[in-house]
Subunit: 347 residues, 2 copies
DNA sequence: GATGATTGGGAAAAGGTTTTCTCAGACGAG
DNA sequence: CTCGTCTGAGAAAACCTTTTCCCAATCATC
């Protein structure tokens, strides 16, 4: 299967192939690239020689000539977070098929480091840059505005007139609340993260809209932190009051899975059944959390991997010279149904 | 601060700098690199011209000539996992200071994809490769044995005669158990993951050794899964038996933080106090879990970021031509003390 | 057999940089 | 004034591949 050429200590060049095949480098190049005119026999002989010698063209030389490096930079400030990983996997997945490699650059929140990385990427003649981050409403600490190479933003705030990909958080929230409605829940609460996050407001707006559309009572969303502890506290506020039982929520839509986990734990401690008495839906579909809750958590998935794929493909198309309109593209979320809100009547 | 040159549509070359400064490219090159002989005045004039024009040397051309690309490949099969991220951050951190960029390649567990990526990296003339993964006792699905460029393994099984960096899991386990001993705990249980993991045995061995050294009773470790659910079940086995209270554990050393979380939750459900009645230590120091347990979890940290740094530096030194002995280097873990086992008498 | 078209293949430039070699001029010593 | 040395700077090769242009030989046609 593998060639039985000895493991060369130094890569074999086109010149060597040409010499071994008794032709010029020009002819060898054309033979291997399917260009030029020559007898089928000559072409085949050169191909065989190249194969036998284990020839692989030097990308550096090719890039220098073609002014295209088949390389892109992926800029992120999300070192440890969990959002950028699926996104990066999607990007990588979209690009590997085109033979494009990805420079990973973590800029933290350091402007100096960001500048450093961008310049390094420019020096290495990347064909384009994808910028991604840990917050959809924050800009990376780098200036990518006048770069003469294409830039795509994904899950981070784009420059004006640039192209950005985001999850449709409002749509995701709709999915969750509609799901509750379809199950016959009537008093749906919303517990979310800090007001400083744009997505908190987008989801809250969708929450209100859906409830209004269904003629259900709209409770003011409870804003706090993205933590389990806040989930606990929110349950205390929602369920420990003196209101009659009929006025307590029968569903809680949470801003992320950690809050949802806190909510579920707190409900269980109070002897309130999930999903029997109260349904719970989370956001992010962080499997390791969603599957560890008891019962397993129904959650909104932002399809980050698909988002990364789209960003990668968009960049590829830009690099290829296809024009594309600036603006933000929102990609739909999906609801992953587990067992924390009961099953829909029909399902 | 920034040069007021207009944003060039095409990068400025050395030739243009030389022309603008009225010298040859050779002289320009030497001026900018501090080589050759020329009047200080000429050198300065060329430097200023380069600065003014925003000249940045084309790395591709440099690499082609120097046979050194200032680029390394980072191979991983840990797409979504949490181990490779801190590790990658460490690698990146060690390399960025040397002006080296990192190609991120996710090979999943796909041999074909691995081969593809390795060849792409070789074509792009990376100076070296770092292989990392999600399991310390599994080999990546790629063959890096006879590659003519340096390879370093980190948190994945190395080839024989290669250089690998690993966390000292046995040492980490010792830290945990010694900590319990220092606190006066006498009946220390061990709940860990599946027997198919090498680290499970290493940690269990260290656990037994420390207990023996202290003359304490050694209970057979409970092996199960890396999940919260298993933590619950393990507590049932340990605490629901008919043994007298004096014979039940007063400490549980867990194989990871999720198990530890399950253990703590299960103990609380039984009315057993943590850390009052039973101390709990986890492994991995996954902050998002360790800080969400009630009380916050003391845990062993594998220092993955440092591991990545060391791996990066080792590769750099190898690329620089420094010889290095093959073998596995174990890096120490550290114990992150929170509140799940009480404070040491002295502390 | 002369002319033109076609075929197979090579020479050379290009891409941007580094480095070695070379050379012209200046300068000092005799 | 001549010889040798030193200084400043340029020419050219090298890295490896692709592509354009060109040439010689073959073939078909009249």
């Amino acid at each position: 299967m593998s060639s039985d050429a000895p493991p060369a200590k130094t890569p074999v060049t086109l010149r060597e192939v040409a010499f071994a095949a008794g032709v010029s480098v020009a002819t060898a190049s054309k033979a291997l690239n399917g260009q030029g005119r020559m007898t089928a026999q000559t072409r085949e002989r050169i191909r065989e020689t190249a194969q036998r010698l284990g020839f692989r063209p030097n990308s550096l030389a090719q890039s220098l000539l073609r002014k295209r490096s088949f390389t892109v930079g992926l800029l992120t400030n999300d070192t440890y977070g969990r959002f950028s990983l699926p996104l990066m996997a999607g990007v990588s997945d979209a690009l590997v098929d085109a033979g494009v490699s990805v420079f990973l650059c973590n800029v933290e929140d350091d402007q100096r480091l960001g500048q450093l990385h961008v310049e390094a990427m420019l020096d290495k003649r990347v064909d384009g840059i994808i910028a991604t981050g840990k917050r959809i409403d924050r800009h990376l600490p780098v200036d990518l505005a006048n770069l003469r190479i294409p830039v795509i933003y994904a899950f981070t705030q784009p420059d004006p007139d640039a192209i950005g990909f985001e999850s449709d958080d409002a749509g995701g929230a709709r999915l969750a609340v509609e799901h509750f409605c379809a199950l016959g829940r009537r008093r749906i609460a919303h517990v979310s993260g800090p007001a400083s996050f744009t997505v908190v407001h987008e989801r809250a707006r969708a929450y209100r809209e859906v409830l209004t559309e269904h003629g259900l009572p709209v409770a003011e969303p409870l804003l706090g932190h993205w933590s389990e502890a806040w989930g606990h506290e929110a349950v205390a506020r929602l369920f420990d009051g003196t209101a009659g039982r009929g006025e307590k929520p029968d569903a809680v839509f949470c801003g992320n899975d950690q809050i949802a986990r806190g909510v579920i734990d707190a409900l269980r401690e109070r002897g309130i059944g999930v999903p029997g008495d109260v349904g719970v839906i989370g956001f992010d579909n962080w499997e390791i959390v969603a599957e560890a809750t008891r019962p397993p958590l129904t959650s909104v998935d932002m399809n980050l991997s698909a988002l990364g794929r789209e960003a990668g493909l968009a960049l590829l198309s830009l690099v290829g010279g296809q024009p594309a309109a600036p603006g933000i593209r929102k990609l739909p979320c999906r609801l992953v149904v587990r067992q924390s809100c009961g099953r829909p009547p029909g399902g």
